[in-house]
């Protein structure tokens, strides 16, 4: 079929491979995170939610960056495959962004004593979530595939540029989130390893989700095309 990036059999093999790795890597990561990594001294065991929270945040940003690139890709080449990459990444990103927004308050209540605060990173993540939900909503209400791809690519580009400014604005406005850990050196090496494990496991899982979502979108497009031809 024209416009398809992966052949059926390759998609099948790649999915199986990713599934295999995810089935091994995720339980291994959770085993390491819950049983091997040391318990944090002041926060106690609740700190372990951080191993889901931080990698999910990374993955959400990664996915939204892919949406940004795919939006450019579509506007420059007009290949619908880019649009499918965009919507798949946006959906997977929204799922991980929700995970960040749900795990955050669960951690914050016992540690900060409050569920939510209008800190820069929290606010930005929430706005990010709203922007990509709006992106997905927009797609639901445009029927023609070319127009849908064009309009959502425009929003995909604007949304990403905007997030950078949202972060700057909310950073000046408030600041409470625990300091960045990357390069800080304050983290036990075993904790770091836990983050790396969890990130790897979730990354493979995200890739699997992305691949299935992409495939679903291609099949949908093919079906629409076939239905159109059958009518003519």
């Amino acid at each position: 079929m024209r416009g398809r990036l992966l052949s059926d059999s390759f998609h099948h093999r790649l999915s199986l491979a990713l599934l295999g790795v995810a089935v091994l890597a995720l339980p291994a990561a959770w085993y390491y995170v819950f049983l091997v990594a040391p318990t944090e001294r002041t926060m106690g065991t609740i700190q372990r939610i951080f191993y889901i929270h931080l990698p999910s945040a990374f993955l959400a940003f990664l996915c939204f960056f892919v949406v940004f690139l795919a939006s450019f890709g579509y506007l420059l080449t007009r290949r619908l495959a880019w649009d499918r990459v965009g919507v798949s990444a946006a959906e997977v990103g929204t799922v991980f962004c929700s995970a960040v927004l749900i795990t955050g308050p669960i951690w914050a209540k016992p540690v900060w004593g409050i569920w939510w605060t209008w800190d820069a990173r929290l606010t930005t993540t929430l706005i990010l979530f709203l922007i990509y939900v709006a992106y997905l909503m927009l797609r639901m209400y445009v029927t023609e595939s070319d127009r849908r791809a064009r309009l959502s690519a425009v929003v995909g580009i604007i949304g990403f540029v905007d997030v950078i400014i949202v972060y700057k604005a909310t950073d000046w406005w408030r600041g409470q989130h625990p300091e960045r850990v990357i390069g800080g050196g304050g983290l036990d090496p075993r904790m770091w390893l836990g983050v790396v494990w969890a990130f790897f496991g979730l990354l493979v899982f995200a890739a699997l989700l992305f691949l299935q979502r992409y495939r679903l979108e291609s099949m949908r497009a093919e079906l629409t095309e076939l239905a159109r031809r059958a009518r003519v």
Binding site: I127, L130, Y141, R150, L151, I158, A169, W172, W173
Partner: protein
């Protein structure tokens, strides 16, 4: 050169259309007015401590934002009737000019409605917004411009969808959060009689936002209205 001619032509067309129908300015005003009144029930309640004055800057901008969204929806929704948008597409020149013309007219309509709302707001909430008129006008222009840049582009986006009126606020509100925060902070500095130097980085942020998004939207507009 072409871009400017298109821009001015679209601006003139919008002014004439607005002069005849008066729909955008009246919509913004007639929505902003009752919203300001409604805010007083929430914030002037004796149980809430009657401290609406402290929030006045925020309330003012929220009223502007909500009202502006209604006005902006009209901006391209009115072009869908009688295939006006098709006519605009046929302009044999840079389509970015259409965006700039629309941006100018939206900016003007919003400013006019806001300038009428400001004194009313001042009376209701007992605040003097015009103690430093130059600064106030600057904040008003920068904030309104920020909403208008994205608002004009997204108005065109939502006019292309099946649920026109609903799509614009969904897209516009999260994207204009930096404008909302910065404009509210600037107004708070102004209202609390603090030196304007405290609002300097907010004014810079607003200016930066306005410039970045005016350019970006101008570049992307062509993709939005293509057939």
């Amino acid at each position: 050169m072409d871009t400017w001619r298109v821009c001015l032509a679209v601006f003139r067309k919008d002014l004439i259309a607005e002069w005849r129908t008066k729909e955008v300015i009246t919509t913004i005003f007639l929505f902003g007015f009752p919203v300001s009144v409604a805010f007083s029930f929430a914030f002037e309640s004796p149980l809430a401590g009657g401290e609406a004055r402290t929030f006045a800057g925020g309330l003012l901008w929220l009223a502007f934002f909500f009202a502006a969204i209604l006005g902006l929806t009209r901006s391209f929704a009115r072009e869908t009737a009688n295939q006006c948008l098709q006519g605009l597409r046929l302009i044999p020149a840079d389509r970015g000019g259409i965006y700039l013309g629309k941006l100018l007219s939206n900016l003007l309509f919003m400013m006019v409605a806001e300038l009428v709302l400001v004194p009313i707001f001042g009376v209701f909430f007992d605040v003097t917004l015009w103690a430093r008129p130059g600064w106030f006008l600057l904040i008003l222009v920068l904030g309104t411009w920020g909403v208008a840049t994205l608002g004009t582009l997204l108005s065109a986006v939502s006019a292309n969808t099946r649920m026109q009126e609903l799509m614009l606020p969904l897209l516009l509100l999260p994207l204009t959060v930096p404008v909302l925060i910065a404009a509210i902070e600037c107004t708070a500095v102004l209202l609390n009689n603090r030196p304007m130097a405290e609002a300097r980085h907010w004014l810079q942020l607003l200016t930066g936002f306005d410039i970045i998004f005016t350019l970006l939207c101008w570049l992307l507009f062509d993709y939005v209205i293509q057939e």
